[in-house]
């Protein structure tokens, strides 16, 4: 590896960019471990065989391919003028490398080396840019801005990368996040990672609808600096933790009640949910909640997400059972008439939580029945 010039500091994402060049064998030795390790890197694109076959031929012929862009989470604290130290730093932390741009090219290089074996032409040189000390938010930002290629990464994929560490590691609140296909049951404090991500993106964008690539990019761009987004990592846990407390509260009130039986003849089939968890621990309800909390913070009803939970002790518990019955009837109406049921449900829950959690509204604050009715009224107005 050869460091070509002094690193350039990217002020937007607060990271040094180092331009290097190396031969393909060196490159593969550098990156191989991290490609295998990172479960979120995309699989190889087989259908683009022709394009990548051409690329392989180009590589054999000594053609210079566009630079591959890598990132390294660890912060570099050494001298920016000491190229040897930078090189040593990269090699020592190579397991943390992440390919921001050039994954398919990497697969092609791998193919080439597998094909040629010992005879590989180590003289084939490629250029590699490395961002040093790029945090997850910076990775996301760079991905969104770089990722305009032939086979871009999905938005969900990109958002998941930021919060990936929450999936397997413990957190202060004791919340658990599970993968959709883990087949583990949800609970009052166990959430599908993807649904929690949905909820948080609704919080960030203040919109209960699914976030779009453009919307996220503009949201991120609107931050004065990316460290602000970094703080949102705590907001993610706060948001879900407050919600977890809400579910616990509802669960205690409804415990032992058979919702299907409660509904009697009023509703016989197509229940939105049959218990607290299936009603509240799902994407539509959570995104509605998250967007409502974001709106209440924007309206300065709350300064901090954590404050939302303080009101749960004042919940009108006597109304909860009846309100759930009414809520399920509203959900049935939505199911029968809405053009997009999921979005309509998100809209309804946005209004529901906005009414229920708005401590400046004496009429509906912590009044579940009134909130259910208000939500229906607002939902119908919007349709």
């Amino acid at each position: 590896m050869e460091i070509l010039a002094n690193p350039i500091f990217d002020k937007k994402i607060g990271s040094y960019n180092v331009m290097t060049q190396m031969n393909v064998v060196e490159y593969m030795n550098l990156i191989r471990g991290s490609v295998k390790k990172n479960e979120l890197q995309r699989p190889r694109v087989r259908s683009s065989k022709t394009i990548y076959a051409n690329l392989k031929e180009d590589l054999k012929a000594g053609c210079l391919i566009p630079p591959i862009v890598l990132s390294l989470y660890s912060q570099y604290n050494g001298s920016v003028e000491d190229k040897a130290e930078i090189e040593k730093f990269i090699l020592e932390h190579k397991d943390q490398l992440f390919i921001l741009d050039g994954l398919q090219r990497t697969y092609t290089i791998q193919d080439l080396l597998d094909e040629l074996g010992e005879e590989a032409n180590v003289g084939t040189i490629i250029r590699v840019e490395v961002y040093l000390g790029l945090n997850r938010e910076g990775v996301l930002y760079r991905m969104l801005t770089l990722n305009t290629g032939q086979t871009p990464m999905s938005l969900r994929h990109q958002i998941e990368i930021i919060y990936l560490d929450l999936l397997d590691n413990r957190n202060d609140y004791g919340l658990k996040f599970i993968r959709d296909n883990d087949n583990k049951p949800k609970d009052v404090d166990s959430f599908y990672f993807s649904e929690a991500i949905d909820a948080f993106t609704s919080f960030v964008s203040q919109d209960y609808l699914q976030i779009t690539r453009e919307k996220l990019l503009s949201t991120i761009e609107s931050f004065d600096n990316l460290s602000k987004l970094k703080n949102e990592k705590d907001a993610f846990l706060d948001l879900i933790n407050v919600y977890s407390q809400f579910i616990k509260k509802m669960n205690n009130i409804l415990k032992g009640k058979d919702i299907k039986e409660l509904m009697g003849d009023e509703l016989r089939e197509h229940f939105y949910g049959e218990n607290t968890l299936s009603i509240f621990n799902r994407s539509q309800t959570m995104t509605g909640y998250a967007a409502a909390v974001a709106r209440l913070i924007q309206d300065e009803v709350y300064d901090d997400i954590k404050d939302v939970a303080f009101g749960f002790d004042n919940l009108n518990e006597e109304d909860v059972t009846e309100s759930i019955k009414k809520l399920l009837l509203c959900m049935d109406e939505i199911r029968r008439t809405a053009k997009k049921i999921g979005n309509a449900q998100r809209c309804y829950f946005y209004y529901y939580f906005k009414s229920l959690l708005d401590r400046e509204n004496d009429e509906t604050y912590m009044e579940p029945m009134k909130s259910v009715n208000k939500a229906l009224q607002n939902y119908r107005r919007d349709q």
Partner: protein, 392 residues
């Protein structure tokens, strides 16, 4: 080009047409999935069935009353829900939905529409108003499907060519059909859509194709709409005329001259030809609705009313005659005619599906050309009648 799919219960991944991608999908798959190759699909939209919950099993009803499952019809929005949503879904519907998703991905990729933006099924770029009908080729080939389109139209579904840019405002709302749709949706026993094929007499008809694809959609003038529909009766009148004509010619030797003249005279009576067409009788309350509305119109116009108990075809023909002969007066009753012409759509589709008329085949006639020799006429006759028997 073939598209390859893989599904882990959470995400559908695909590769083909030089692209690869995926999106979250929670429609449960089956251990015994359907074979995509055995199914065909059709893009639809509707002004009447706009809710995501408007998904139906579709049967194809034969003229003998037998029913076969043709497939399932569902809005594209139904594919966008979470796992909990599909818990009570019919197992067959779920299988059809998977075939549908595959067809959608294949088509979007082949049209170079797919673009990764949201990381959801919306990236296929289909209109959110799109409705997909997935049907069994074994029951109905793509060619035969053309014969089902009038029946689909009568249910309120339009076949669309561009599934990426549907504009529902392009399609007029038929108030009569809207009433029927509400009735259908409020009836819990109505869980299926029963389609019918039109008679083979209309198979491949360019006019029929144009009628249900364009004319009835773009034509807002009720008088012209009525006439456009009446052309179907004209087509059938022509069939009756042809069949009768050859019948008389074939038996002319056994008839006396005057009787034959009377018989030929009958052929020029439209009313009598229509009577023959409507020997199949009236079926359903729609005919009574039409008669009631026609009676009201006649009364309002101070027109001579038909005798009590007069059948539908009498009213239908009377209205036709009024338009032809009294259009200048009829224009004052445009509102009533609008409703009648919309009702007439349903009744014409019913006629097209129920008619038991068949075109008599292999009936030929040769008219002697006196300017030619006897021998030349004999040769020409042999050609018409086909073969040596004619030369005897």
């Amino acid at each position: 080009m073939e598209v390859r799919f893989s599904f882990d219960g959470v995400e559908l991944k695909f590769e083909g047409h030089g692209k690869s991608g995926g999106f979250p999908l929670y429609v449960p798959d089956s251990a015994d999935p359907l074979d995509d190759d055995e199914y065909e699909y059709c893009y639809l939209c509707s002004n009447y069935f706009v809710a995501e919950d408007d998904y139906f099993k579709v049967n194809l009803k034969g003229q003998d009353g037998t029913k076969s499952t043709l497939g399932w019809l569902f809005p594209i929005n139904l594919l966008k829900e979470d796992a909990v949503f599909y818990q009570d879904f019919d197992e067959f519907l779920l299988r059809y939905m998977h075939v549908g998703i595959h067809k959608l991905v294949e088509h979007s990729l082949s049209m170079d529409k797919w673009a990764l933006e949201k990381g959801t099924i919306d990236d296929l770029q289909y209109s959110s108003d799109l409705i997909l009908l997935v049907y069994r080729k074994k029951i109905c080939t793509t060619e035969q499907f053309q014969d089902v389109i009038p029946s689909l139209f009568d249910f309120g579904y339009h076949v669309v060519d561009d599934p990426f840019g549907i504009d529902l405002s392009h399609y007029p709302i038929n108030p009569y059909r809207k009433e029927k749709t509400v009735e259908f949706k409020n009836n819990p026993a109505q869980t299926c859509i029963n389609l019918r094929s039109v008679s083979p007499l209309f198979a491949g008809s360019g006019y029929v194709k144009m009628l249900f694809k364009d004319t009835l959609i773009s034509q807002r003038d009720p008088f012209l709409k009525y006439f456009s529909l009446y052309q179907i009766v004209e087509i059938l009148m022509r069939v009756v005329y042809g069949n009768r004509y050859f019948e008389y010619v074939e038996k002319y030797a056994n008839d006396d001259r005057h009787n034959l003249m009377d018989k030929f005279g009958e052929l020029s009576s439209e009313a009598k030809l229509i009577k023959k067409i409507y020997e199949i009788g009236e079926s359903g309350t729609e005919y009574l609705d039409f008669i009631d509305s026609a009676k009201k119109l006649l009364k309002k116009m101070d027109e001579e009313t038909l005798k009590e108990g007069a059948p539908f075809d009498d009213y239908m023909y009377k209205i036709r005659n009024l338009i032809v002969h009294n259009l200048r007066i009829m224009h004052d009753y445009e509102k009533e005619m609008t409703y009648l012409s919309y009702m007439y759509e349903t009744l014409i589709v019913d006629l097209m599906c129920r008619t038991n008329l068949k075109r008599e085949e292999n009936k030929q006639i040769y008219v002697i050309d006196r300017t030619k020799s006897r021998k030349a006429n004999r040769k020409a006759l042999a050609r018409v009648m086909g073969g040596p028997t004619a030369r005897k």
